[in-house]
């Protein structure tokens, strides 16, 4: 059951092989069985079963959507009416959102069932899921290792088959890097393709929600529900949503693939490089043309990102002040005490670090040197991508410079941790869509191939992912103990 694709589950529900309630019970049990992964912050047994019952009734009518009755799990960054939305933080440990995020509303309308809320780095700040107030998530491929982050709970739960599919969000690599480290498929859509309304903000100009699934085919089905203009999000784009499944099997003959030479520099583990080269060779076999391209400003992506993302987060997180919701310190003496202790006691160190960096970067006298300069770099990086994508259809490279690392290995070295996102961050700065698909193993740990496309080319990326998954079986392998 847990190895079925979303299409197979949809078919099974319709042919009454199993009901949505049975399916839901099955996955709830599996989540309990594998609690040690710590991939869920909240498991919504009652809600899920109630939704499954409604879905079963709906399945008996003509009014159904592909996802009706299919259990999913949501990153705990999406606000869900009536159940806890913590964003991985002590700050919101007591927070129950009074509304549904647009993405959640869309899944509800489709009749999907929500199994629960997935663990994540605190406020999506992290690359290992170790900054979560709820403790680290374990990678099912090696439970001593991290699943990546910030959508680490999502990646681990999908890889371990605790949920057929999940959502994630990606500000600097938070869908793609954990997808790569856990051997699943993750798509970060074009900025503005998926509504950010109700998705708790980390860095507003970079955040984007997307699907985390076992295959490109499944990702297409989730994208179909998630994508679209939302009048409640001014930065969402008013552009029609294509049929993401329609072109999955399109031929890749003549596809022009660019390999940015900066993606294959010394930082990249040579074993991973080998896997990536092999994946590219697979595309060549399918008729694609390969070309080396150069994006000289990529090396500036990490510093630019940490200025911009930190600046935005320093402001976005100001609302957590102990006044209206969230954590409030005991017996505040005065206003300053209420602010400083509430925030001091409830934010973790990585969040504090970024708030401080961002506050500094925006301060009088530093704004021009940091924030403005970073925005200029951001423009240069976008221009690099524009130039490259005018020569080729897509870019390919690694997702992460290394495979899953051991829990605790990089926690004392923030710079090492930030370098985890060296290949993913620039894409967020440019606002482009990019996908991570399983492309082999190094020492038994998954490796991800990154495919970067032009704006709104999600359908093409899914097509490229799907064709590869027709000729390889990396995505079908399951970690030991979870088969």
């Amino acid at each position: 059951m847990h190895n079925k694709t979303l299409s197979e589950l949809a078919a099974g529900l319709r042919s009454k092989q199993f009901s949505s309630v049975e399916l839901t019970q099955f996955f709830l049990a599996r989540i309990k069985q594998h609690q040690h992964l710590n991939s869920f912050i909240t498991v919504c047994d009652d809600l899920a079963l109630a939704q499954a019952e409604v879905a079963d009734k709906r399945l008996a009518t003509a009014d159904t959507a592909v996802l009706t009755g299919i259990p999913l799990a949501q990153k705990d960054i999406f606000c869900t009416l009536g159940s806890k939305t913590s964003c991985g933080s002590k700050m919101l440990d007591n927070f129950i959102a009074p509304y549904d995020a647009t993405v959640i509303e869309k899944f509800n309308q489709a009749g999907a069932v929500m199994l629960g809320k997935l663990n994540m780095d605190e406020f999506a700040m992290g690359s290992s899921n170790e900054t979560s107030y709820y403790g680290p998530v374990r990678n099912p491929w090696d439970t001593d290792c991290v699943p990546g982050g910030s959508s680490g709970g999502s990646a681990a739960a999908v890889a371990a088959r605790l949920t057929p599919a999940a959502t994630g969000t990606d500000t600097g690599g938070s869908i793609r890097q954990p997808a790569a480290l856990c051997g699943i498929t993750g798509l970060k859509p074009t900025y503005g393709r998926v509504s950010r309304y109700g998705m708790i903000a980390y860095a507003s100009s970079l955040d984007q929600g997307g699907p985390m699934t076992r295959s490109a085919e499944d990702a297409a089905l989730l994208m179909q529900v998630m994508a679209g203009f939302d009048p409640k999000d001014s930065t969402s784009v008013q552009q029609s949503v294509p049929d993401y499944s329609a072109g999955l099997n399109d031929s890749l003959k003549g596809l022009k693939i660019g390999l940015p030479k900066e993606f294959f520099s010394d930082e990249l583990d040579s074993a991973i490089a080998t896997e990536i080269q092999a994946a590219v060779a697979e595309y060549e076999k399918m008729g694609a043309e390969i070309k080396e391209v150069s994006m000289p400003n990529l090396k500036l992506a990490i510093p630019a990102y940490y200025v911009i993302a930190s600046a935005e987060c320093s402001s976005n997180l100001s609302r957590y002040d102990g006044v209206r919701f969230g954590y409030r310190c005991q017996n505040p003496q005065d206003l300053a005490d209420l602010y400083t202790r509430s925030r001091g006691e409830a934010f973790g160190s990585e969040v504090k670090r970024r708030i401080l960096m961002g506050t500094y970067a925006l301060s009088a006298g530093y704004y021009d040197a940091y924030y403005l300069k970073a925005q200029q770099v951001r423009r240069l990086i976008s221009d690099d991508f524009k130039r490259a994508l005018s020569e080729v259809d897509v870019l390919m490279g690694p997702v992460s410079p290394s495979t899953a690392f051991r829990i605790g290995e990089k926690t004392d070295d923030p710079i090492q941790m930030y370098l985890e996102d060296i290949y993913t961050i620039a894409i967020n700065l440019a606002g482009l869509p990019a996908m991570s698909i399983p492309a082999g193993f190094v020492d038994g740990k998954p490796v991800g191939l990154q495919v970067i496309g032009n704006y709104f080319s999600e359908a093409k990326l899914l097509n490229i992912g799907h064709r590869y998954q027709q000729v390889t079986d990396w995505h079908q392998q399951s970690p030991k103990g979870f088969a």
Binding site: F78, S315, L335
Partner: protein, 479 residues
């Protein structure tokens, strides 16, 4: 003011834009609701919520810009002004910083018959904060977020004013304009029109400005004048006493009529402005400007000039009648319905009607005498049916009842006697009965005539036309 010194004043005026919903959310903006009943998740700054710009607020800002002949920015940007305060739910206020929607414009004011042009540096859109309530909470502070997210247009003047009087004239002119444009209800008690003043002094003739203080919380024309004058004197005293004016924010206390220091420059917040990534830049196209320009009402100054010409009013009446759009409209209605009695209508409106309204603390829109009923009265004055004196009596009845002027005149028998034979008989009778004043008059004492007219009016119970009586009396006496 001490004649050695010159004051330099610039005003920042916050006008609350009269939109139905808030600037970034769908919550209502109506004043006076129970605390925290008009604040939605967006206004409360809940996790995950996003702002969506209210197009009507943009239109109103553009309307204002066009009315002051300002540059309308084709591209303006919302920025976050970051600071912590309990009535600021997000920890930042969405405002405009480097690229405001309205650029350079101007406004002409008149003080003691001298006109002057005051530059307007900019006007930008922003959201209002909530209110902190310090009373009735036993030492704690209550927060009402109904006002949070209400759209404001902050209008910043150049430091072009040189006296409190000029500042008030500018503020009044602006107040009149925003109500004309119907972009702000102008209600100062409810805080729809608020003023901060930047005040400095310098020796007369010196080109550089002195150090300025910003006075906050001055929300009536009277207080603006008092607060500025007080601040000018305070600064002169400081300098003449050998001290230095420090750059600071001062709060005006209307009860004590004084300003006191709120915070110095050193204590000022670093607001860390940066473009709000949740909102796209506002792009204003020529077509929108043209569309709004076409709907601009006639502005106060143009209306005043037209009234002077079209209705032959004197300057004072024209200025009073155009001081609000409602009053001007009311006046023009009365003129039309009275068959063109422009001067009479002008005198009545600026005199008896405004007097009665002031006494009753009413606005022209609540005037118990409609334009139609007032016109009915004016018609009867114009055609001599009643005298001006009787008309005042009729007006009182119009004010306190619902009858028309004609009905009142009929019921009360107030019609003037137009039968000259009847008046003549009374004139003769009075001349005969009052030989002393008659002799006095004939001896050259013109005043004596008044006594005779009075007698005749008394005899006719005020229903004779005093002009007619006068004429007839003189004719008889001199004849």
């Amino acid at each position: 003011m001490n004649s050695k010194w010159e004051a330099v004043i610039g005003l920042e005026i916050h006008t609350q834009l009269a939109t139905k919903s808030k600037i970034f959310s769908g919550a209502a903006t109506a004043y006076g609701a129970e605390p925290n009943t008009q604040a939605c998740t967006v206004d409360l700054g809940f996790p995950g919520v996003l702002p969506v710009l209210n197009k009507d607020a943009v239109r109103k800002a553009v309307t204002f810009g066009l009315a002051i002949d300002a540059e309308i920015a084709p591209h303006s940007v919302f920025a976050r002004k970051n600071y912590f305060y309990p009535d600021l739910p997000k920890g930042y206020q969405i405002s405009q910083f480097e690229l405001p929607i309205v650029g350079n414009g101007h406004m002409d004011i008149e003080v003691d018959g001298v006109s002057k042009r005051v530059g307007i540096t900019r006007a930008h859109l922003e959201e209002d904060a909530g209110k902190s309530l310090h009373e009735d909470f036993h030492g704690l502070t209550g927060i009402d977020l109904n006002r949070a997210g209400t759209p404001l247009l902050e209008i910043v003047s150049e430091p072009d004013m040189r006296s409190a009087k000029e500042a008030v004239a500018y503020m009044r002119k602006l107040h009149e304009l925003v109500r004309y444009l119907e972009i702000c209800d102008g209600n100062m008690q409810e805080g729809s029109f608020r003023c901060d003043a930047n005040v400095s002094v310098r020796p007369k003739g010196q080109a550089e400005f002195g150090t300025r203080a910003e006075i906050k919380n001055i929300n009536s024309f009277k207080f603006v004048e008092k607060a500025i004058n007080h601040e000018i004197e305070r600064q002169i005293d400081v300098i003449e006493g050998g001290g230095k004016v420090v750059q600071e924010t001062r709060l005006y206390d209307a009860n004590k009529d004084e300003t006191r220091s709120m915070r110095s420059k050193e204590e000022a917040n670093d607001y860390r402005y940066f473009p709000d990534p949740d909102l796209l830049p506002v792009e204003i196209e020529e077509a929108l400007k043209d569309e709004i320009r076409a709907t601009l009402p006639e502005l106060p100054e143009a209306k005043k000039q037209r009234f002077l010409q079209q209705y032959s009013l004197d300057l004072e009446n024209a200025a009073t009648l155009t001081s609000s759009r409602e009053l001007a409209d009311f006046y023009e209605q009365v003129v039309e319905l009275s068959g063109g009695e422009a001067k009479l209508a002008g005198n009545w409106l600026t005199g008896d009607v405004l007097g009665a309204l002031n006494k009753a603390s009413l606005e022209i829109s609540d005037c118990p005498v409609s334009a139609e009923r007032l016109a009915g009265l004016l018609k009867r004055i114009a055609d001599n049916t009643i005298s001006g004196k009787t008309a005042k009596q009729v007006f009182d009845k119009l004010w306190n009842g619902s009858a028309t002027a004609d009905e009142i005149i009929e019921q009360e028998g107030l019609k003037q006697i137009t039968d000259t034979g009847a008046i003549e008989a009374i004139v003769d009778k009075v001349i005969a009965a009052n030989p002393v004043p008659v002799e006095q008059y004939l001896a050259g004492k013109d005043k004596a005539l008044m006594a005779l007219v009075g007698q005749i009016m008394k005899e006719t119970q005020g229903k004779a036309n005093p002009g007619e009586v006068n004429k007839m009396l003189i004719a008889k006496l001199k004849g």
